[in-house]
């Protein structure tokens, strides 16, 4: 585990997220998994406003291509579980190309950990309230979600 973390700190990641990169979003609610197709619900990909980035709309993801299985869950324990209502039960894995296909992009900000990125480029318009924009986000998230395969969390010690 420690070795994964040290590798993670020293690794040089590509400055942009490649289309064939695997990205992950953590899932803490059982009903965010689509049982029949073993994918995730679109709700897990919906954006939030980040006050630290001038209220930019972002969906937080992990560039899991560069991590081992243990490394992904270590990041989940450190950076997701303690803020979520419950520890993650799994994650959704998808390729970055599905994000690009719907006209969104990825900002690999590397904060709060090296492999962190945000899905950005969500429809936003100054002066238009979120409750008149949200349908755009829903439509894009609905198109991406079927391409994010659900992976059950095996090690729950985190």
């Amino acid at each position: 585990m420690l070795r994964d973390m040290l590798q993670s700190c020293s690794r040089q990641l590509p400055s942009s997220v490649q289309a064939d990169e695997l990205i992950s979003t953590f899932v803490y609610q059982r009903n965010h998994k689509v049982q029949s197709s073993n994918t995730i619900r679109y709700n897990r990909l919906m954006p939030r406003r980040n006050e630290r980035h001038a209220r930019r709309l972002e969906t937080s993801v992990c560039r899991s291509k560069y991590l081992t299985e243990d490394g992904v869950w270590e990041i989940c324990s450190l950076h997701f579980d303690k803020y979520a209502p419950r520890p993650a039960i799994g994650r959704g894995d998808g390729l970055a190309r599905e994000v690009y296909k719907v006209g969104l992009s990825l900002d690999p900000d590397g904060v709060p950990y090296a492999e962190h990125a945000n899905i950005v480029g969500w429809d936003d318009k100054p002066g238009v309230p979120d409750n008149e924009l949200k349908h755009h986000w829903m439509a894009k998230a609905q198109k991406m979600a079927p391409h994010f395969r659900y992976v059950e969390r095996q090690n729950r010690e985190g």
Binding site: R41, M46, R48, N50, Y83, N131, H135, A139
Partner: protein
């Protein structure tokens, strides 16, 4: 407990546990056709307890999300979600599947119907007199929009939800009937 399918001149339908003999004639057939507009027959009777249970769970869990940007679900949103769900239950064809309800990170409540991961319709309800909805209908296209809703009376609310009901119906087209050419 068995489900019986009766066949007549290329038409078939399902009527729960009840067998409808072909000899009863066209009135029976028409009645059965109305009763079984899609394959999810008899599931609608379970809407209300399911909705109430889901909203109870949302109410109990609503302050738990501490992720950045999360907002709690208000009593007003829960109450509105219940009113909308009940209205849709009354508007939609008998047998329409019960929606999934879940709290969203922005404090709204999502009602969604999913046939498979490429056919989904969802609406998002917040305490602001507007709803957002989006649907993917496979080869039949997609839709997304927001609209105001009038909650001043039951009929006004139902009138506001007309488009939503049509889209949900589009997700569950009547598929029980196969017509013969003859």
């Amino acid at each position: 407990m068995t489900t019986t399918i009766a066949l007549r001149q290329g038409e078939f339908w399902r009527k729960g546990d009840e067998y409808l003999p072909v000899s009863e004639g066209s009135r029976t057939i028409d009645r059965a056709r109305q009763d079984t507009r899609n394959f999810l027959s008899n599931s609608a009777s379970d809407w209300i307890p399911t909705i109430e249970g889901a909203l109870r769970a949302i109410r109990e869990d609503r302050f738990a999300d501490n992720l950045e940007g999360a907002a709690p679900v208000t009593d007003g949103t829960i109450e509105l979600a219940e009113r909308i769900a009940i209205s849709l239950f009354e508007m939609l064809p008998k047998g329409t599947a019960v929606p999934d309800l879940m709290a969203e990170q922005d404090g709204e409540i999502c009602l969604s119907w999913m046939v498979d991961d490429r056919r989904i319709f969802a609406l998002s309800i917040g305490d602001h007199k507007k709803i957002n909805f989006a649907g993917q209908f496979g080869k039949m296209g997609e839709v997304h929009a927001w609209q105001p809703i009038d909650t001043t009376s039951k009929s006004a609310l139902e009138s506001s939800l007309g488009d939503v009901a049509r889209y949900v119906t589009k997700l569950f087209p009547p598929v029980a009937l196969v017509r013969s050419s003859g």
